[in-house]
């Protein structure tokens, strides 16, 4: 029998309060399935976010037993007898485990997270990329925007203007793309106290990433590009 303690907020709760639920985890049961179990059999008022249930959409990111992770890919049997669940950190809580992700997505929109290429497209075919060029994107393209890294980062807590590891990694994803022609602009966009220079290489982001992306490596690459742009005049 496991005790699942969920931090409840909003609705009938004036103050953040832990509410405990007891359940017998089935073999192979994930935390998300356990939350569904609680919702269906014990407390229909529990609020949490989910979509794909397969670690692809990033919707069910939450703080489980001291670590930010995806509820759908975390096994109950790996967590012991007491499981403590909180919402993502550093974002306004709407209710229970549901946070307002708008500040994160607003930052993401601000860096133009799409391919920019001002040159005319090749006649009758797509912009080609060699397997070697594509290899540069292998890891960073896996980001599912779950915001685990943003919540684990201590700098995003104290500086709400800081772009954060997920957004900076997204910039690196396009800056590293051989088809993108906005490299100088992207390097300029991170060259600020609230950009790459706020990162102190604490590595909390890489530690929690469910896709094992090395965000500090991406941030270091963007630091290098910002330095090259200022010192050599090109990124």
């Amino acid at each position: 029998m496991a005790l699942v303690r969920v931090l409840r907020q909003g609705g009938e709760f004036d103050q953040p309060t832990f509410q405990g639920y007891r359940l017998d985890p089935r073999p192979g049961q994930t935390v998300l399935e356990a939350l569904f179990d609680i919702l269906e059999t014990q407390d229909g008022s529990l609020a949490f976010r989910y979509a794909c249930r397969g670690a692809v959409c990033g919707s069910c990111a939450m703080h489980i037993n001291g670590k930010y992770r995806l509820a759908c890919s975390t096994q109950m049997q790996d967590l012991g007898e007491t499981i403590e669940i909180r919402p993502l950190g550093h974002y306004p809580v709407i209710r229970d485990l549901v946070v307002d992700m708008e500040p994160f997505f607003a930052q993401l929109r601000s860096i133009r997270p799409y391919l920019i290429n001002d040159t005319p497209a090749p006649e009758g075919k797509e912009r080609l990329q060699s397997p070697e060029e594509r290899k540069h994107l292998d890891e960073i393209i896996d980001c599912i925007l779950c915001a685990c890294c943003q919540s684990a980062c201590t700098m995003t807590l104290t500086d709400p203007d800081y772009l954060g590891p997920a957004v900076l990694t997204k910039i690196d994803r396009f800056a590293s793309d051989s088809r993108d022609t906005a490299l100088a602009g992207r390097a300029e966009s991170v060259d600020s106290e609230h950009g790459v220079w706020r990162c102190h290489g604490i590595f909390n982001c890489a530690e929690v990433c469910p896709k094992t992306i090395n965000q500090p490596h991406s941030i270091a690459k963007m630091k290098r590009r910002a330095l090259k742009r200022r010192i050599l005049g090109h990124a």
Binding site: Q107, S110, I111, R112, M155, T158, D159, P160, D161, Y162, L163, V167, I171, A182, G185, R186, E188, S189, V190, D191, S192, E193, H194, G195, W197, R198, H200, K223, A226, L227, R230
Partner: protein
């Protein structure tokens, strides 16, 4: 493309923090060696060394590197907790660095006339 306001000084402060850190590793090593492994350390021996322009210059540069690295490090911590604070933090940090270098320069010069 400007996701965040452009900030000219952040890059240089970050770079100089690392450059001064690397130089301090060497400089403090030399300072430690001279102070502990080149004979008895007395006021006279220090005054004798500081009467040589090269050593006076070395110590002044070491103080300047130390002042920048230490005070800028503290400024970074204050800024981390107060990222939207006014530029007064930067002005105080710069004033402290200059004051520390001038204070130590005065003392080093005074030593020469012992």
């Amino acid at each position: 493309m400007k996701a965040v306001p452009a900030d000219g000084q952040a890059l240089w402060l970050w770079l100089f923090q690392r450059v001064t850190g690397a130089l301090l590793v060497i400089g403090i090593g030399v300072h430690f060696h001279v102070g502990h492994y080149t004979g008895l350390l007395t006021s006279e021996s220090v005054a004798e060394r500081l009467r040589q322009a090269a050593w006076l210059g070395f110590d002044l540069v070491l103080v300047a590197l130390l002042a920048f690295h230490g005070i800028n490090g503290l400024r970074n911590i204050v800024r981390d907790y107060n990222p939207r604070g006014s530029r007064i933090i930067d002005i105080v940090a710069a004033a402290l660095i200059i004051a520390m270098v001038l204070y130590c320069a005065r003392d080093l010069s005074a030593f020469r006339s012992l």
